[in-house]
């Protein structure tokens, strides 16, 4: 009996309990995955009798799923880019400054994460509406009347890409600033000073030294931003009303709401599609997450 260890009764019951919990947690995911390819999907978990791609095809043909997906990708992708750039510069500044307002500022921005977004929605909408009015006036003065509407869908603050991108960025920026600031705290100033002595100008110091050194921190912040913004429901619901600007989570929600018949196969396929980018992003950026939360720069 070499290599085989007898389990104690306590261990058996512990593993048994954990396994049962695991199965319980995984079942919904299993159901979604199976139902999305099951021609006769129902609300009950069952092994499909055949495999079909019809549900996925329906998303892109009968509905405007491709457009929803594109809208989500554009707004969330842009918000991630904004957060990484602004968070990178701001995080660096917050790490290096000794200004008296540093601590108050850091705690003030974290309030944005603490307050429930729903509570902020009314004043935020009011502000965005005013900004949208100003932007509308500006757009009407430079763009011919027949293309005003499509221009506003891009640069509008309400029911436009720009507004949603800014709101999503603003929601995610505080956490990103904290992550990147903490990462720069662990990055000694010596590297920058050595580069300065080597004759690097400020642009070269950023591009050749700071960005490569801060990559794990920037990557981790970017990943959390992407996942956070991708999963956001309230902001797209509040700020987007045009059908052609619809985002994936809203499309999913509206499909679920359709009163008389619920098409479980279609819903599941939509859910799989919605989950996919977050999982892919996590797969790519996981090592940044691990690096930036387990220790700074080695060497």
């Amino acid at each position: 009996m070499i290599g085989v260890r007898r389990f104690t009764q306590a261990e058996v019951s512990a593993y048994g309990f954990l396994s049962a919990t695991l199965v319980f947690c995984l079942l919904p995911f299993l159901w979604v995955a199976l139902a999305s390819i099951d021609p006769n999907a129902s609300q009950f978990l069952s092994f499909p009798k055949g495999i079909t791609a019809d549900h996925f095809i329906k998303i892109f043909t009968a509905n405007n799923g491709g457009r929803w997906f594109f809208n989500s990708l554009i707004t969330v992708g842009a918000a991630t880019a904004v957060v990484v750039v602004v968070g990178g510069m701001g995080g660096y500044a917050l790490s290096r400054t000794n200004a008296w307002w540093k601590r108050p500022f850091l705690y003030a921005i974290i309030l944005v994460r603490i307050l429930p977004p729903t509570a902020l929605i009314v004043p935020l909408y009011k502000v965005m509406l005013i900004a949208n009015g100003l932007m509308g006036a500006l757009v009407r003065s430079v763009v011919p009347p027949d293309s005003t509407r499509s221009a506003m869908q891009i640069v509008g603050f309400v029911d436009g890409y720009l507004g949603l991108i800014l709101v999503l960025s603003a929601m995610q920026l505080p956490l990103a600033l904290w992550i990147i600031k903490t990462y720069f705290d662990l990055t000694p100033k010596d590297y920058e000073e050595a580069a300065l002595m080597d004759g690097a100008n400020s642009f070269q110091r950023i591009r050749r030294i700071l960005v490569p050194l801060a990559l794990p921190g920037l990557g981790a912040a970017g990943l959390l931003t992407f996942i956070g913004a991708w999963g956001d429901f309230l902001m797209p619901l509040t700020f987007i009303s045009s059908a052609e600007l619809q985002l994936l989570p809203i499309g999913l929600f509206r499909a679920f709401q359709r009163a008389n018949t619920i098409d479980y196969g279609y819903l599941s396929a939509l859910a799989v599609l919605y989950m996919l980018p977050a999982v892919v992003a996590f797969g790519f950026a996981r090592r940044f997450l691990i690096q930036s939360f387990t220790g700074g720069i080695k060497g």
């Binding site: 590297y191 000073e193 300065l196 004759g199 490569p212 050194l213 080695k298 060497g299």
Partner: protein, 366 residues
């Protein structure tokens, strides 16, 4: 190559003055060491020469030209950091060649120059490695390589050996001296280790609390310390200091320790200091253990014996004073023994109440 002049330089951080009017000069090709306890301002001064800190007042000159406001990379000065600060995302070759790459030197030229520097520093085998895969001594050499490839007029070292273990430190000390002799740059080297300072320097600037305590050649510092601070900082084990008073007849002065014992100070003109209190300093190697029947100056009780093999340090108590005696070889004394001590009078240093040397309070190199 270049001469560095520090003229009345001051530095304030907010309301705190950390450098309080420092002046010294490093001649072309010299190896100068700034030494002092932590917080004396030596690293700040080095960073001011590098251009990483601004100068509050006074001038820093390179070959007579004021460089206070010249950007760091245009001073012709390279610096080796205490942490080495090797770029972790670049290979050894990229680290060494980075400054040339920034200057848009052709890749082939960079490769050739990096190879030369690597040859000089025995790094040729390691050029493709990342800093994380190097040992402490190898990282140190890469940091030096990154400095010398720029062919700087001056190289600054900020405690470069403090992260190495003891045996590697001795080896790198010799290597740095070899490099200095081969390339002859002007070097300013900061350390808190007086052994490093004594072994490598052409000239030493001892700093204490933002002031120059003494600026002299190493042996001069050892032989003629200007103050009790320098006397106890330079030399290991440190100089014995005994508080007391200049007494005796004016023609035959003597030193009476606060604890009562007296030694004659024959052959010295101490009329001006007569009956003033002060300090007698004597290095451990200037005290001998002698037989009871010869002319002993003092007898005392052995407290602690430290045996190093080649030599033995004996702590001898006389009343409340303890004198450290350095004896060649291994000798048979035990704590509790009574021993006779004889002083080498040429090794006496007398300091007044302000802890400044009576005999030679003039500046050495200024």
């Amino acid at each position: 190559m270049a001469t560095i002049s520090i003229e009345n330089v001051r530095k304030n951080f907010g309301a705190v003055e950390v450098i309080k009017g420092v002046s010294f000069e490093v001649a072309d090709g010299q190896f100068a060491v700034l030494v002092g306890p932590s917080g004396c301002g030596k690293s700040t001064l080095l960073r001011m020469i590098a251009g990483l800190e601004s100068v509050t007042q006074g001038d820093i000159k390179l070959d007579g030209k004021r460089i206070n406001d010249v950007p760091p990379d245009q001073r012709g000065i390279a610096m080796v950091f205490q942490s080495y600060a090797l770029y972790p995302h670049m290979t050894v070759a990229e680290n060494i060649g980075f400054s040339l790459d920034l200057k848009k030197v052709p890749k082939a030229t960079i490769r050739k120059e990096v190879a030369q520097v690597a040859e000089l520093l025995q790094l040729s085998e390691l050029l493709d490695r990342r800093p994380a895969a190097l040992s402490g001594g190898q990282r140190q050499r890469v940091a030096i390589g990154r400095a010398i490839i720029k062919r700087p007029r001056v190289i600054l070292f900020d405690e470069p050996l403090s992260n190495l273990d003891a045996s590697l430190r001795v080896q790198m000390r010799a290597e740095l001296q070899r490099l200095h002799q081969e390339l002859r740059p002007t070097i300013v080297y900061v350390t808190h280790d007086q052994v490093e300072a004594m072994t490598m320097a052409d000239t030493i600037v001892v700093l204490n609390q933002g002031n120059v305590a003494q600026w002299a050649h190493p042996i001069e510092l050892y032989r003629r310390p200007r103050s009790t601070f320098v006397a106890t900082f330079i030399g290991s084990p440190r100089m014995n200091l005994v508080k007391g008073i200049i007494a005796g007849k004016e023609s035959m002065p003597s030193f009476t320790a606060a604890d009562g014992w007296t030694v004659p100070l024959a052959g010295r003109d101490l009329a001006a200091m007569h009956s003033q209190s002060g300090w007698l300093g004597i290095r451990p190697e200037c005290i001998r253990l002698v037989d009871a029947n010869t002319d002993a100056d003092l007898s005392g009780e052995v407290v602690i014996v430290e045996r190093l093999g080649a030599e033995t340090y004996v702590n001898v108590a006389k009343g409340r004073d303890t004198l450290l005696v350095r004896v060649q070889g291994d000798i048979a004394v035990r704590p509790g023994d009574t021993v006779q001590l004889a002083f080498d009078r040429a090794g006496f240093h007398l300091f007044n109440q302000a802890e400044v040397n009576f005999d030679h309070s003039s500046n050495d190199l200024e």
